[in-house]
């Protein structure tokens, strides 16, 4: 369904960014514009999301073709359940981090293009979530990355600068590979539109026809690129080194948003396109079940396992709040990769749910850390203590967020994790399931570490930091954290409503038909249907499978060798 309003989600931050360049010396006005922009984004994305949630399947994907050029000739902007959820969460997280920064960022830093950069970052992030074009995705990544490079070095402390180059160089390398891979996609398929690619892949699958030579290698390259942005094993190194040097609000924003963009692209592109091996099974009801490339799935499984486990060990061994939280970002990404690796509709739904809740919760934790630092003047656990006495409200907020992160029911982290692990067990990936559970327990330990050393234990803060003074100066921070924690609570207690949307997102990711017809028009999928009908006609329903489900199993290997 066409709806040109969706591009406003990119226009709003762009416009706000430009306005705040003009207002570079007006602190209050800049802040006002920024808040307005985030609020507008949040409101718009929520209203659009509600709209498509209520709509029937055929109208549940909103599309706008840039320049009015029909897909695949122009650039398609697509707003489906997954992008909708993520943009909502991103706007909320952005608003939280932005408001929080008012109480922690120094005026000097703030004047150095902080406001425009925050807006442009959202421009890039929203565009990444929205775009339906591979090359445009590259551009969106670059906007986001460029803004993040600048935000990473903003303020320019020694610690920041001595680490920032790694983030930038690794990302430049990944971007270059992305660029080449996008070019190669054009070389192989003559198109860049994601829906068009999905169509071509679906046609291959329906005909059980091999995908072009080098397709698998291309998929590996994409995985490397997105894996690096998403901080998968063994590509996460840039993350811990850089996140604990930036101003804490920015760390919160990065921790919440940036890795999710990488994970999102994997979730978007892999089940639909790059994880395909060109084979398929036709189910009894005439729907097609695409085959999954064992290489890609194995890589994802290995990545998920190591990302979850190794990173949580890293997190629990740190002795600074920021570092614990930073390294945890990676570990949690492991769960999302787990969801993608399972690659069923339900697992992807779980992954979507997990992503949005993690954005909110992780950002909230970072922001809490910001206030903790204000109280104690440090984030070293050995020098913290007794914060509960100083600031019980912060303690409550932190505790809820921390337990959400750990995933104790009924808080938000639980539900996504539950669905993912359930599907993992169901699909026979019990090893991932067990690692996921153990990781959960160690996550608990690390959060308890922060809680026990930070909020309990004797107070060691310098007496100069009067609790009242800190509280007074951190009013925006409290507002921001409260906002995010309320969101997190809603995601937990109201998980049903959110999960329904996530479930639809999972379905849309699992079944390319909706996406393809929404972007390319109803005829686009006709060829696939034709091919499926042909195959059903050729091979009448085979014997019922052992489980009693009547599958017409078409084994591609057997077919290929006559």
């Amino acid at each position: 369904m066409t709806d040109h309003r969706i591009i406003l989600l990119c226009v709003i931050p762009l416009a706000a960014g430009l306005i705040s360049i003009a207002l570079i010396n007006r602190k209050a006005l800049s802040r006002l514009v920024g808040i307005l922009s985030y609020t507008l984004m949040l409101g718009l994305s929520l209203s659009l999301l509600l709209k498509i949630t209520a709509a029937p399947d055929s109208e549940s994907i909103l599309v706008s073709q840039m320049g009015g050029w029909t897909a695949p000739f122009g650039i398609s902007i697509v707003f489906d359940s997954l992008s909708g959820l993520l943009i909502c969460a991103a706007a909320a997280v952005g608003l939280g981090a932005y408001v929080h920064s008012f109480s922690v960022i120094s005026p000097v830093t703030e004047r150095r293009y902080y406001h425009p950069l925050m807006q442009f970052l959202m421009f890039g992030v929203n565009l990444s979530f929205l775009t339906g074009d591979l090359f445009n995705l590259f551009v969106a990544f670059e906007i986001m990355l460029m803004a993040s490079y600048a935000l990473l070095t903003i303020g320019g402390s020694k610690a920041q600068l001595s680490q920032a180059y790694k983030y930038i160089l690794l990302n430049v390398l990944a971007s270059t590979i992305f660029l080449m891979a996008a070019g190669m996609v054009y070389g192989m398929f003559g198109t860049l539109n994601i829906a068009d690619l999905a169509r071509i892949v679906a046609e291959h699958e329906a005909a059980n026809k091999e995908l072009p030579a080098g397709f698998k290698s291309l998929a590996v390259m994409f995985l490397l690129v997105f894996g690096l942005k998403g901080a998968f094993f063994p590509l996460w190194f840039w993350l811990p080194d850089t996140y604990y040097t930036v101003p804490i609000s920015i760390a919160g924003l990065f921790g919440g948003l940036l890795t999710k963009v990488g994970v999102y692209t994997v979730a978007r592109l892999f089940p639909l396109i790059f994880a395909s091996d060109g084979t398929s099974t036709i189910l009894a009801d005439g729907t097609m079940l695409g085959g999954t490339s064992p290489i890609i799935q194995t890589i994802l499984i290995v990545a998920a396992a190591f990302t979850m486990f190794l990173a949580v060990l890293g997190a629990v061994s740190q002795h600074h709040v920021r570092r614990i939280l930073s390294v945890h970002v990676i570990s949690q990404v492991g769960y999302m990769v787990f969801g993608i690796a399972v690659m069923t509709g339900n697992a992807l739904a779980g992954c979507a749910f997990y992503m949005i809740q993690h954005m909110v919760v992780k950002c909230a934790l970072f922001l809490c850390c910001g206030v903790m630092e204000k109280h104690a003047g440090t984030d070293d656990l050995d020098k913290l203590g007794g914060l509960l006495k100083r600031d019980w409200f912060l303690g409550v907020l932190f505790f809820i967020a921390a337990m959400s992160l750990v995933g104790l029911p009924p808080l938000s982290g639980f539900f996504g994790k539950m669905v993912i692990i359930r599907e993992g067990f169901f699909e026979g990936m019990w090893y991932l399931g067990v690692i996921g559970l153990v990781t959960g327990a160690i996550t608990l330990l690390s959060m308890l570490k922060i809680w026990s050393y930070g909020y309990w234990n004797p107070d060691q803060a310098p007496t100069t930091n009067k609790p009242e003074a800190v509280k007074a100066s951190c009013k925006p921070a409290y507002a921001a954290i409260t906002l995010l924690v309320v969101c997190a609570l809603f995601l937990g207690l109201g998980a049903e409503a959110v999960y329904k949307v996530a479930n639809r997102a999972g379905e849309q990711l699992d079944n390319p038909k909706h996406y393809i017809t929404a972007v390319l028009g109803d005829d686009a999928y006709a060829k696939v249907d034709e091919l499926i009908d042909e195959r059903i006609a050729q091979e009448p329903a085979g014997p019922a499978s052992a489980d009693g489900e009547s599958l017409t199993l078409v084994n591609p290997e057997e077919e290929a060798t006559p």
Binding site: F135, L161, S162, Q163, L169, L173, S175, Y186
Partner: protein, 145 residues
């Protein structure tokens, strides 16, 4: 001709990786600079060979010399992606190089310039703050922090 580009891509990429693995960030920056060349050339290769195929040459020559088609010795190149006239339905599009990769490269060049400039400035500022741009020294800094 694609082979030539592929070799160029391989060599520039290899050299840039070699430079990026070096011990000083100046060399690394040069590696990044080369990296963008490698990427651009790789995309350029996707527009296919700039030389016409045998059949295309025959058709071209036939169009020029009436029906007496004979292949000239020197190879014919395709046209640049600029339409000869405003109502160009006569334009033999098959003998024009694919314009889309060019547009992609143009975008990529601009972006890589931006990144490059930022990276170079970062080096200057980093050097000013940390007094070093040696990778090993900066890693030491990370361990200390």
């Amino acid at each position: 001709m694609t082979m030539v580009l592929a070799i160029c891509v391989a060599v520039t990429f290899a050299v840039s990786i070699y430079l990026m693995l070096g011990r000083e960030l100046k060399g690394v920056a040069m590696g990044v600079f080369l990296l963008s060349h490698a990427a651009n050339l790789s995309i350029l290769a996707m527009s296919g060979s700039p030389m016409m195929t045998h059949a295309q040459q025959e058709a071209e020559v036939a169009a020029e010399n009436g029906s007496h088609a004979h292949i000239v010795d020197s190879p014919l190149m395709k046209d640049p992606p600029i339409l000869a006239s405003q109502y160009a339905n006569e334009q033999p599009l098959a003998t024009m190089v694919d314009p889309l990769p060019q547009a992609l490269i143009l975008t990529a060049i601009v972006i890589s310039f931006g990144v490059m400039a930022f990276l170079l400035t970062l080096l200057v500022v980093t050097n000013r703050k940390t007094q070093t741009i040696e990778v090993a020294d900066l890693a030491e800094e990370a361990r200390k922090a």
